[in-house]
């Protein structure tokens, strides 16, 4: 967070932005469902905060190494933990498989401290990770209050039972939180939106119907399509991007050529050393140089730097290669892999530098063409600002939505790669109480912090209105007008299935002009269309609910996006917008039609006067070809002199029912 808030336009040095105009989220209560909190972290200082909001009805519960009187404050105003569901299933006492855990809200894992401090941590200057990313860490809403709900336990990296999460929802709704930040997911295939195995979908339905915005991570199963989780339309689902910061690490070869890799290496520079690529004789000379299965000859490797190649995107290949090279007496590692900006240090400050296949191949050619190849690995630098373009993270789960493809997911994107924030001192990656972590878990609290600012500015906005403001003002291009890319193989310009509306633009969302608002009735429309029975929908809502006898279209749910998964000839969808800008304003439609479609809007001019707050319009999308296609993307924007209210438009023509999704 030493850079992410500046990247998002919420610099604390700027006198005019949503951070300042919202009094930094003062008075807003953010509930965090996670692994608890390390309350002694400076990130949770409460200096300068006013009294706890009077509507707060929650509690601080003492427990192992957590004394409510000592550890709760005007910043951490609530702390509860939920383990009965987990223990009832897996037996008492809690078996953390060798990891430490506390039967209290204290965070042994570090994940909960990281997310809570990202959402609402105080300003802590001069923080870095071993000198990298130096700056001020803080939350998005530094004056918001935190209610900690520990629902995940430090077993196998963090496990959370749906019975425990539902209890946390039950009590958080009662306690009076305004926003819930949930960096938790399940796995594909998903449970339905009304299945309590997905405790998040059911619990969040009740939370949202009481005006609480629920922000969830989209999960880390990208870049494959249809992997996005937490897809219910009432949830605000967050994808992860990089930001305008990188960590170049010079690799200087013996021929004086220098390449830039990426690492978080801050150890001692090792000077020029021998460079080897483990090539084996035989039919497959490259087999010995695969990072995850390195078989090294100690006499060849000792005192040298090793180059290896891997097609694995995940970090495990780097970790196992580093271990093998260290065991063989090597002094450094260069890993050639598909580009991914997620960086973790190798253990013991061992220099391990990542490069892409092109640079890896050039280094390999140098090794093969030189009798005594040498290399120098220099320490990592931090670069911030314009030269570095943000990208949707490789790991960030992608749409389309596998439960209801007409509901665009993810909704929005925020920084979630190499995020430096407070952590537990027990976190294996911590440096003086801070760690760099990556995941949609890290992107989620960025959006939760932004939502807290918006709640402070517009206390009467519904969760759907807040989502609309975020989606329609998000940035799909870099300010320099370059399109934002999505990591993957190969990289490509990002589309709504990668980043929803785009990268969050909190200052735009504070003044969106128009809103696509929704209430519980709209969510019932969704549940009816999804085929849930009248009786179960009625019990969900607590009052008799009859679905319309004429089947409504899922496409007419008043979302700030339009996604048509099965266009044959022509489809007309309806939307309603609410003017939250100047009372007298005129908006004109600007269409960017997806390839192979004609799009028309009626009316294409919306004139708002004092009495008129809401207006309806229709969008007719017509296919110009008769073939099954994948998705093509465009947009519909309403513009006045001040605002651009942009909705992503995604269309797939489907003349025949496909046996596989062409997305």
């Amino acid at each position: 967070t030493t850079r992410s808030w500046d990247f998002l336009g919420l610099s604390s040095h700027s006198p005019v932005n949503a951070l300042q105009s919202s009094s930094m989220g003062d008075g807003v209560i953010i509930g965090v469902f996670d692994t608890g909190v390390w309350p002694e972290s400076k990130a949770f200082r409460d200096e300068g905060l006013g009294p706890i909001p009077s509507r707060w009805k929650g509690v601080c519960k003492s427990g192992k190494m957590f004394n409510a009187a000592l550890h709760c404050s005007k910043k951490i105003i609530g702390a509860r933990w939920y383990i009965d569901g987990f223990l009832a299933e897996y037996g008492k006492p809690l078996n953390a498989s060798g990891d430490l855990e506390f039967l209290s809200s204290r965070d042994a894992n570090g994940h909960g401290t990281h997310t809570a401090s990202t959402a609402a941590g105080a300003f802590i200057p001069n923080v870095s990770y071993k000198g990298l990313g130096l700056g001020t860490v803080r939350g998005g809403a530094p004056r918001a209050r935190l209610a900690i709900y520990k629902v995940c336990w430090n077993v196998h990296g963090g496990q959370c039972s749906s019975a425990d999460m539902l209890k946390a929802f039950d009590e958080a709704i009662h306690d009076g939180v305004d926003v819930l930040s949930i960096s938790i997911g399940s796995s594909i295939p998903l449970f339905s939106d009304t299945d309590e195995r997905d405790g998040i979908a059911t619990g969040s339905f009740h939370a949202v119907s009481k005006g609480i915005t629920v922000v969830c991570g989209a999960a880390n199963d990208g870049p494959s399509a249809q992997t996005v989780q937490n897809t219910a339309p009432w949830i605000l689902t967050v994808a992860a991007s990089t930001m305008d910061r990188s960590f170049p690490t010079p690799i200087t070869l013996g021929n004086n050529k220098t390449f830039l890799g990426q690492a978080t290496f801050r150890g001692k520079e090792i000077g020029f050393r021998g460079l080897v690529y483990p090539e084996a004789p035989g039919l497959d000379p490259n087999a010995a140089g695969v990072c995850q299965s390195l078989s090294l000859n100690v006499t060849l490797v000792a005192g040298k730097v090793v180059l290896c190649f891997t097609s694995m995107a995940r970090r495990s290949a780097v970790a196992s290669a580093a271990e093998a090279v260290q065991a063989a007496g090597g002094v450094g590692l260069i890993v050639a892999k598909n580009p991914s900006d997620v960086l973790y240090p190798c253990s013991g400050d061992f220099p391990c530098v990542e490069v892409d296949f092109e640079i890896g191949t050039r280094i390999l050619f140098y090794i093969r063409s030189t009798r005594s190849p040498e290399v120098k690995l220099s320490d990592t630098k931090t670069i911030v600002g314009n030269p570095v373009l943000p990208k949707v993270a490789y790991f960030s789960s992608r749409g389309p939505n596998s439960i209801a493809p007409a509901i665009l997911k993810p909704d929005i994107t925020a920084p979630g790669v190499n995020i430096l924030a407070a952590t537990s001192p027990l976190d294996g990656f911590e440096d003086n109480g801070y760690a760099m972590h990556s995941g949609t878990s890290m992107a989620t609290p960025h959006v939760s912090g932004i939502v807290a600012l918006l709640k402070s500015l517009h206390p009467d906005w519904s969760p759907a209105a807040i989502k609309s403001a975020l989606v329609t003002t998000a940035l799909s291009n870099h300010p320099s007008s370059y399109p934002i890319f999505a990591e993957g193989s190969p990289q490509k310009p990002a589309n709504p299935f990668d980043f929803g509306g785009g990268i969050a633009n909190p200052n735009g969302a504070a003044d969106p002009g128009l809103l696509y608002d929704m209430d519980t009735a709209d969510y019932l429309h969704y549940l009816c269309v999804m085929g849930y029975s009248h009786s179960s929908i009625s019990r969900l809502t607590g009052h008799p609910t009859q679905c319309h006898s004429v089947k409504q279209s899922i496409l007419d749910i008043n979302l700030p996006s339009i996604t048509i998964p099965n266009l044959r000839k022509s489809i007309t969808v309806t939307r309603t917008v609410t003017n939250v800008g100047a009372a007298n304003s005129t908006y004109r439609a600007v269409i960017e039609a997806p390839f192979g479609t004609n799009v028309s809007i009626k009316p294409d001019v919306l004139v708002f006067r004092n009495q008129t707050k809401k207006m309806n319009f229709t969008v007719t999308v017509t296919a110009t070809h008769q073939v099954n296609t994948g998705y093509y993307f465009g947009s519909l924007s309403w513009r006045d002199e001040v605002h651009v209210v942009k909705s992503p438009l995604s269309v797939r023509t489907e003349m025949l029912q496909p046996y596989i999704s062409d997305n």
């Binding site: 039972s161 209890k167 309590e196």
Partner: protein, 85 residues
């Protein structure tokens, strides 16, 4: 008898605002199926009574089926695990 597992008995929106009454009704519903109030207390894991109505309890498959057929029960579903992201 098959082993017991945690199930969530989901009753939807709460029907009134007295959490005590709601919890009592959960215990009664569970007692009707498992045979006694004492056993119901042992098996009850959570009573959801503020934001919505329902409970989590350790149930055998046959008890879960019986509960699912009671009026007012939206669904009975086994507990499951989620992960940090």
């Amino acid at each position: 008898e098959a082993t017991s597992k945690v199930h969530i008995v989901y009753l939807g929106e709460k029907q009134h605002d007295d959490p005590k009454l709601i919890t009592n009704s959960h215990h009664e519903m569970l007692a009707d199926v498992v045979g006694s109030k004492e056993l119901a207390s042992q098996l009850m894991v959570y009573s959801y009574k503020h934001g919505f109505s329902g409970f989590a309890a350790k149930l055998t498959e046959s008890q879960a089926h019986k509960l699912a057929e009671l009026p007012g029960v939206v669904r009975v579903i086994p507990n499951s695990l989620h992960k940090l992201q």
